[in-house]
Symmetry: C2
Subunit: 344 residues, 2 copies
């Protein structure tokens, strides 16, 4: 397929064209970049929703049931399953679920024309995976999906990076498994716009709910404190924690108990997702959030270009490295030299 | 203390000056950079040894006992304890060990003039922590320590990054705890130059040893296969896996059983460490290894400079981000524009 044909296909609802475009983007083909450039003006409409949580908490079931629920609400759903840890298993479980579930037995989600599923897994570095997930979401956005669900396994930095592609982040856990502690350590507890305690029938769900609510209240207090004491940092590439907290101003993340396997709590979750999107739009936080994301993304793209420049040889990068290794030049001075050279 | 005074202090064995320099470097003071530049020509002599493994495997005990052993061999030892996951706990355990252990009771390692201990913990991003660990090791190197031991907790990407600062990487595990699987998943099993199965009295140690040896043999076979089929990738900033394997050419990582608490196997471990350093030097792999590390480090420093340039405002970065958010410009074109502008 030619680029023109693919782009036309994406705009006219041809799933094969979408799949091809995703493959090009995933594999870094120049065609992928070309397509991304040309569809970009048609993006920005979809609601991008990220879901994360440790293996076994029932993410796939939730994604599948949510898809059913949103289909009933007449939304078209794109789904991306990402497994940063593995080059192989990305989305296998979710794929199976989608084959099983349907909103009537004659039409499993897998063949529903209003649903598109794609799995992605680790190739190279995690940072790159986050960028690619964003690009794939953009392709789905241009295609016309209303909601794009990104499921990611685990709760490490890579997952945080991937979930930051989303407008709405959902953190899923199980009652009393100690996930809270692990997630807290991984810095993932701060990123949720919505919290889900799944398998709420296992007992201890109320305790986990209460713990979460207490923690979230403390967060809110931090926000008001920060408002009084600090200026918002306008720098574009800072580490983001305070910024993240400030972003939640006016939104108290709900904690939703679900038993996804039996469909319990799924309606409430779908409502909360739609509500959060409304909130983002009415408060204009969506623009801020996307601006921040775009700034990061641009920065990464620029770094890629600079990398190419360095390895292209014109700047004598290798010779300079040699000098540093021989202790004839220190790395800080070398970096300054190279940057001066690059920037003219 | 003035920069001149600190530098003089470092070269004349003043630990207070060293401690001060480290603080400057850790906190990104301009004085830190100045000091690093000026001591650089005196570095490159120390043997940098990284140790990693999950919490509880006995890393701190091993580091402490190794320090004792190396002191007997008349080596001066710098120790860095890094905890990428925590802003608080870095090295607390190891600090306690060093207070307890000594090669005679009158002289605990803590006050031994031939030993220097410093802990570092998470501030900001993990990437930055690796770079800083390298810089701190460099300060210790310039001070005159023969061996610098870097202990890092856990086995995630941050630990891999930190351990890549080292000439010799040691992976520590316990028998039959399933650590192998976890480490394999984290990509940390490939990075060891020496493997330690500690707490070998717990039973199952031989099984773990055997498993490790099988895996290492397979690695060696991969090396010979790669030699026949691929050219070494000369690109400076690739992801490094194949490169890493090729680096091990000629070195079969030993697996050493230890019961560190009782000092068992520590001599053998110290021998292996010294042997690996000899191997690196005689094969000249040390130059290659350090070249690769330096290339990465330089690249990171350059990125920092570019970041400053972007946020400084001359390039209208913010305005361009705004345009992209408004869908008036796509990010790929925007990145190309900015790079073109930057590179003149």
């Amino acid at each position: 397929m030619e680029v023109d044909e693919i782009i036309e296909g994406i705009f006219s609802g041809n799933k094969r064209a979408l799949a091809r475009a995703i493959t090009y983007v995933e594999n870094d083909y120049p065609e992928g970049k070309e397509i991304l450039k040309r569809i970009y003006s048609k993006t920005g409409k979809a609601h991008i929703v990220g879901l994360t949580g440790f293996p076994g908490v029932g993410k796939s079931t939730i994604v599948s049931k949510l898809t059913q629920e949103f289909r009933k609400r007449d939304k078209k759903i794109g789904i991306i399953a990402v497994d940063p840890g593995s080059p192989f298993t990305g989305g296998a479980l979710l794929g199976d679920r989608l084959r099983m579930d349907g909103f009537d037995s004659s039409k499993p989600l897998w063949i529903d024309p209003g649903v598109f599923f794609r799995s992605m897994s680790s190739r190279g570095r995690a940072g790159g995976l986050a960028a690619k997930t964003g690009d794939v979401a953009r392709l789905m956005d241009a295609f016309g999906f209303d909601i794009i669900l990104i499921e990611t396994v685990g709760a490490g930095q890579s997952e945080v990076d991937i979930i930051e592609v989303a407008d709405t982040s959902i953190v899923i856990m199980m009652p009393e498994t100690g996930d809270e502690i692990q997630m807290h350590k991984a810095g993932i507890l701060e990123i949720g716009d919505i919290y889900v305690v799944n398998k709420a029938d296992l007992g201890g769900a109320e305790k986990t709910e209460k713990w979460l609510k207490t923690m979230l209240m403390m967060d809110q207090e931090t926000v008001s404190l920060l408002e009084k004491t600090t200026h918002r940092d306008e720098s574009l590439v800072e580490s983001g924690k305070i910024y993240e907290v400030l972003h939640k101003k006016g939104w108290m993340p709900p904690v939703i108990l679900t038993i996804a396997e039996r469909g319990k709590g799924i309606k409430e979750l779908a409502d909360a997702i739609e509500e959060h999107f409304k909130f983002l739009k009415s408060s204009n936080l969506i623009v801020e959030k996307r601006k921040r994301r775009m700034s990061r993304e641009l920065f990464d793209l620029i770094m890629d270009e600079i990398k190419k420049e360095l390895t292209a040889g014109k700047l004598n990068y290798k010779e300079i490295v040699d000098k540093v290794v021989k202790n004839e030049l220190d790395p800080h001075t070398a970096a300054e030299m190279l940057v001066k050279k690059m920037l003219g």
